[in-house]
Assembly symmetry: C2
Homo-oligomer: 384 residues x 2
Amino acid sequence: MKKVCVLGAGSTKYGKLSDSIADIATQASVSAIESAKISPKEVDFSYIANVFGIADKQVHLGPVLMSNLGISETPSLSIESACGSGSVAFHEAWAKVAGGHCDCVVATGVEKVTHTGTEWTTTYFAYCSDFYYEGQAGASFPGLFASMARAYISEFDATEEDFAMVAVKNHDNGILNPKAHLQKKITVDDVMNSAVVASPLKLYDCCPFSDGASSVILCSEEFARAHGGNYIEVIGSGRGGSSSALQGREHMTTIPSTKIASKQAYEMAGISPKDVDFAEVHDCFTIAEIVDIEDLGFFEKGAGIKAVREGRTKLNSDISINPSGGLKSKGHPIGATGIGQVVEVYDQLTGAAGARTVKDAKIGLTHNFGATGASCAVNLFASV
Amino acid sequence: MKKVCVLGAGSTKYGKLSDSIADIATQASVSAIESAKISPKEVDFSYIANVFGIADKQVHLGPVLMSNLGISETPSLSIESACGSGSVAFHEAWAKVAGGHCDCVVATGVEKVTHTGTEWTTTYFAYCSDFYYEGQAGASFPGLFASMARAYISEFDATEEDFAMVAVKNHDNGILNPKAHLQKKITVDDVMNSAVVASPLKLYDCCPFSDGASSVILCSEEFARAHGGNYIEVIGSGRGGSSSALQGREHMTTIPSTKIASKQAYEMAGISPKDVDFAEVHDCFTIAEIVDIEDLGFFEKGAGIKAVREGRTKLNSDISINPSGGLKSKGHPIGATGIGQVVEVYDQLTGAAGARTVKDAKIGLTHNFGATGASCAVNLFASV
């Protein structure tokens, strides 16, 4: 297995964007290519992470992106794994380089949905659940995560105010991220007073629908060394699955795919959760971040909520969780999210994270899942 | 690079199907797993090829399929590369096993669209073109391939009757395939008298919209040997790209991605086109098959039409092209097509092709592209 590096990274701003899906994918890719100090012609393969290209009338995005980059003969493909598409595509790109098939790959995640309105987006996102058991019964994602939140409250000593603290922390971080969708300071009271979406989750417990694109360049170590860009190393990459419908799970307060994927990644890297300096985790709803930081092994089951309450997951505390602002504040353009997490890790480990820098960070983790965690990928990175 | 084998294969019938997209994907996968004489628990990774899961309200198909197979913790993902999704997914699965990441992978292609009607399907399929330059200008695929047909007629000595002979041959083969969508003998007159879709292409020059699923099991040679199923060997696999819009191509009568992908596959296998006994090629329209058999190196540029006229591509002639009936008669459930081609090769090389058996065949090729060939994969197989 060859060592794989991330040699460059770029993102558009996340939010409501007016350019086409192909254009924003191109903007992020060009920015990653420039950051890597390579020529597009050096790219020998490409992965696009995208779920609802159909919303902007463009599926089969790869060839359009390659043509825009002036490398139309470079092979491409799109990967979909619901909200986890980005990190799943990153894992595939990693495997291609690690397996010796490719030397330099561009992995670009993109989504554009805000122009379609909330009804279209909510309906189509529900097609990412197990539609037979969940979506068609009216159980869209806010309802499903609300069930997890209810279970967590009933099983552990948690309150709605505790969940709200996750949102407050992530907004505090997002304010420091010029590319974040929601750059706005909020308080626990703001969260508690926001409209109920699916009790106990309120509007400010939920991440927004966002447009955006993020892109990274993966390559072999030799390739990275031969070019002038800053690079970091991929030290672990894991994948896991869970029952597609929540009803098939043994527990409501843990996500099996996170445990499986992170175990693989930690073992590959030869490290344990305590070695991780910061993590970008999948906080589509505040409850998700609590479950994530327990399943990833940062805190014991049931102790995540206490850690949040004590501020141990804030920027530059015990472990910085979602320094970018996370899905909650940075935004969640679903195909782009997992790649965007890698962009944040790249920026952190190459000294480009500005005011939200995690001090003395050497190891970063990305965790991103699809639906209620039916698919998951965890990637681990180290500075060089 | 490890040697990769195909240990099992299965398909639903192609046509108008009433079961859900998840159910037909499951049926094909179960059939492939049974054919491989393995237990689902031995599968360590899965690829789903699909374009319009949204048509049946289920994207994020992988976890649903894994849950149906009783292996919900097995990682999965969906791959989209328009009509080439199946063979592109096969290439990715091959790379994963060849690179030593996985030992046994299920690759399942599926599509279900016929229930949505021709207008929905034509519109949404056009989103697979370069929509900015083509689809939004009204250039859907029949029109784009008609442009290629016009160019071919003008450049070489071809007639509409010649194109019709491709359809007649593929229907002759499809009649021998119990799983084919259109099992009906047709004549050149039938083609010539069918409704004009986009001149010079008539209805019988076009493949149908189909539902269907196909699935194959890929594994290492050691895994294949340790199990009881028949297996064949993957001897080459290549990928290529072309300009997403036809207007970006230097020539209208050749598809660059086919040439690039097949060159890679031939070189990997250490063979030349004359070593291939039969090929499943992408005949979405009759003109496409002509262009394919030239780009794949079976005939010189401009000589493909003469070969068809002389019957040299019929079953058990010089080279059997589309013994399954091809997209034209077997059908074209777009996500499934490329995997279905591999199922045909598996059946041919393991003696399970019945009345359509290519005699003494040792080497088979699959060729499948997306859109007008903006993405392409070519895979080569040998009997063991």
